[in-house]
Symmetry: D2
Subunit: 328 residues, 4 copies
């Protein structure tokens, strides 16, 4: 093994938790250990970095966590880290603990914090995309996204059982903040009659038109999947307006909520997290800095963290078309 | 095979759908067929009986449905069946189709309808308890209850992942109408810090006391499971009052909703439904009338339908005590 | 709180592991703690008692384990505990650690060891039935059984997908040692065309007769569920003989194996384990000795451990009849 | 809509069934219908084409199947289609039914048959990769592969529960024929101590070395995942040789078998199948022939069917390295 510049890596999870974060932590810890680097776990995101809530981790600290949802390091959104004073304390903790490099697992909020910290204090930093929303540029998918898709799909499958049994219409809200990835894919996977996502301009007229077409074809029950960031309205608004138009419809609402953040990660997410955790450590060893490790076309790639935050993966418009054709 | 008085049995599902209803339909159809009786399926509950939405069913009509959620016969709540005129039409349908006996799968609303119809027109009738709420007397558990428990538990397990990762408090609403069975059992199974059910008088003071005790013991995250019929307030009220008392708490809400009605039935529900469907047909053949088929202490029993509606299984108070002790 | 005679309880898991053992351990530890008793965990069954592999456990030692399969205390079959010398060492460990009472979670092998140890050395002992096989007298179900049923059912559901798609016959072996409970219930739940269990005399002629009847009714694919203790032969024997008789049949074998022992426990198993763990500690506090805590008709009951070992729950013969009727 | 040359499309599934085939059938039928083409379903693969087991399918024929495992069209391996005579009959069926174009869903066996048939009789043909093995060139993943990965992973997770509880070594055989994709990915996802795949030369010495290293690091239990095509030996051979070397090891075997072919498809598989089914029909409409529809880097691509059969996706060697590093 060559003489790496960095000796001590610390890893943290920040922002909303996502299934597979533990698999990523495990990969960071074990890869560090394999290459003879010390590895530290920072608890509760950047707050733990500020407060020195830091512990040494060995290969056995991460035994039997690859299959667990959530994050053993806990996560938090840190107000203090938004202040220069907070970040200064964080830097002092890095110095007093001898930490050379940081692996920050999270979404764009996490990356923004990491970037500023890196630019201010020069601690070598790498990002790992961990969020169910899939709204990060520089990676085909983010850690947790595939699991969230399957969780949403399973829930909608169950709702469809009752929708079909009762000739009901369900408006189902799924997560994804400003991104429609979860809505679009879980909607296609469950044969939703319509899918409303922020990336596309929708109107009540088009929605009603879809209901009319479905009724004409003998479809008595329907599921409409709605992204939480949908601009036409939330599931309550949509339901109310639909009720006005179709007073006889039996309409129900389901907000899937936080179940989408939890659960044992899927195989794809565990493998992705393992590869990105490994890639983050080897990237740091190669001297990479202020970048994010991602996976594109099945290859490890590094993207400047600024791009990862600012650019966005675009929704595949073909998918929207396909969803319309197949739902009928 | 002896000469049974009845020749033609019809089966319907009514009220809220429950996982295992299909397994019960399958058992009614195949048992009828085995004993040389004709079997008819009535679609959309009592509405289908009124409208003559009735089809003959053979053993192959119910192939590959034992594992499906929902009900292939569909279900509905019937306003018309509440009128004498509606029931008269239903009786005429029975006569014109030659239907001697009815198997009504559902909850207490279904049974009330069945009882009145039986008393008015004399069609031999038997009830099968199919509801996730477990609020029917005369059977240890109702069809769908065990599946709903597991669905609620899986969802709360996922929520707990994120609660633990973020030091959050979650108020989780589960189904069960006026009964706390789902809340109590899913709460114990997920280590909920508190469980609020309508069968017990609760107060905000006691809830706050529980939070304080949990905090003292180093528990940073908590899940409170709340039955939908809870009298202290719904999850929104409870959350608001808790927020007032503990402004620093990060509190979230989850309403599990209709996912609890769907999904592939558990093994226990499929076996229960199979036994009760079989028991309903053999009960009819033995001349039983205006009763419900139930399973108590692993034995088939018949309870006058009036009792099934009026009496209630009581919540096991020991369980409440145990839940408090084990959550700490 | 009154002055109990016992001060220190120790808990162990022994024999084959079963889902829900962790929930039982959690209940023992937290109930002990609640009543002011000290609680110790013995690792790797009776071996750990002999070797002094014993640690104190507090309420936080059992956090976040209620949903985990396996046993955090690990399990083992102990050869040494079968010797007087081994048991003597175990007793010395009890004395030196001040252990007054033992909770032994396991099956009949575990209980046999516990009984002999109790009779030889007088340490107050209580058994908790933890085995997927459900072959213990004195409780309606054992911890792990319900989960194993659901695991077996899910696996057979998947196998049925491929059986149906290919017009195949599958012989599926499920666990249960000399007991047919898992086979019978998972077989009914999956619509198996035949179910072979040791409690019933089977013959190849009857099996072939079943295949012929199924073929006559247009059933092209079949699943036969076979208990591992079946006396007519194992799945390989049965397959071979069937192939001889029906050379054109496309026959496959599946041995479900150890997946049936693992997995997150079902709601029923977690609640059962919680109640029995609680019951074991309160039973010890009431002075009960050499008994097993069980749940019958939803009530906590204690059965002399000798009876629990020697007597057996009998298979419900009605179920066998029902399985035949419904499979057609 | 333009005037397409083709008027009638027929679809079949052939070879081993895979989860998601139904979603692909649904997409073919609904896309055809959307573009005004007639669509026919051929039952039991090429056998059904030979025997004229063909039915017209409309949008409602494929309702509620997107979530079902297996294939509603059934599948078979056809001996007759390997003969010129059989293929001639198949062509006559196409002619008499007016079928212009074929969508063949399956693996390389299916594609080989389709290619020969196309070259002999000129019926326009397109392949859709449906196999859990992921051994088809021209697509990043095949339909069913992601579901099989998750099924294998869930099963190994359960086995690991019992392995950990008992300090056992398990050799687990997973499917994949000559390809190690399932083994490699499910092995990484479950933290397998070693993964044996046909694409890599393995030796017992290296395996023993892995065991020794694991023991040195305090790992008491291990899961070794073995691809069914592994050349070093099958799980029985490997177990036997390991037992000889380490007589004290408690070694068990699990052959996951056909559960890997069944089950409700994952979200990724349902979306992939929907896109490829859509792509197959639009490909035919564009005049594509003797090609396979695949998805590479999230884009629909067409590959000459000959290449799809002959070339192979190579195992990512990085993954093997990562699996070694992370398992320690």
């Amino acid at each position: 093994m060559t003489d790496y510049k960095i000796k001590k890596i610390a890893v943290l999870t920040s922002g909303g938790d996502a299934p597979g974060m533990n698999a990523a932590i495990r990969a960071v810890v074990r890869t560090s250990n394999y290459f003879g680097l010390e590895c530290y776990g920072i608890r509760e995101g950047f707050n733990g970095l500020i407060d020195g809530n830091i512990t040494k981790m060995g290969p056995r600290s991460v035994s039997n966590i690859i299959n667990l949802g959530g994050t053993i390091l806990r996560s938090a959104r840190s107000e203090d880290f938004r202040t220069e004073e907070g970040r200064k304390k964080a830097f002092e903790q890095c110095q007093s603990n001898g930490i050379d490099a940081l692996v920050c697992i999270g979404g764009d909020g996490t990356f923004t914090g990491a970037k500023i910290f890196n630019e201010e204090f020069g601690i070598q930093t790498i990002g790992v995309p961990g969020t169910i929303d899939n709204d990060i540029f520089g990676t085909d998918t983010t850690i947790g996204y595939d699991t969230a898709l399957n969780t949403a799909m399973d829930a909608i499958d169950k709702i469809r059982d009752t929708a079909t049994s009762h000739n009901r219409i369900f408006f189902v809200e799924v997560m994804g903040r400003d991104a429609g990835f979860i809505a679009l894919n879980s909607g296609i996977a469950t044969g939703a009659v319509d899918i409303l996502i922020p990336e596309q301009k929708d109107s009540m007229e088009e929605l009603f038109d879809t209901f009319d077409k479905a009724a004409k074809r003998g479809k008595n029950s329907s599921v409409v999947v709605v992204a939480e960031g949908e601009k036409l309205g939330n599931v309550y608004d949509l339901s109310e307006q639909t009720k006005k138009k179709y007073p006889n419809y039996d309409i129900r609402i389901a907000v899937l909520g936080h179940i989408q953040r939890g659960g044992s990660p899927s195989c794809a997410d565990r493998v992705l997290a393992s590869r990105l955790g490994y890639g983050a450590v080897t990237g740091l060893m190669e001297g990479r800095n202020n970048v994010m490790a991602g996976m594109r076309s099945n290859k490890l790639v590094f993207t400047p963290i600024e791009e990862a935050i600012k650019k966005h993966n675009t929704i595949n418009k073909d998918l929207l078309k396909i969803s319309e054709i197949l739902a009928l």
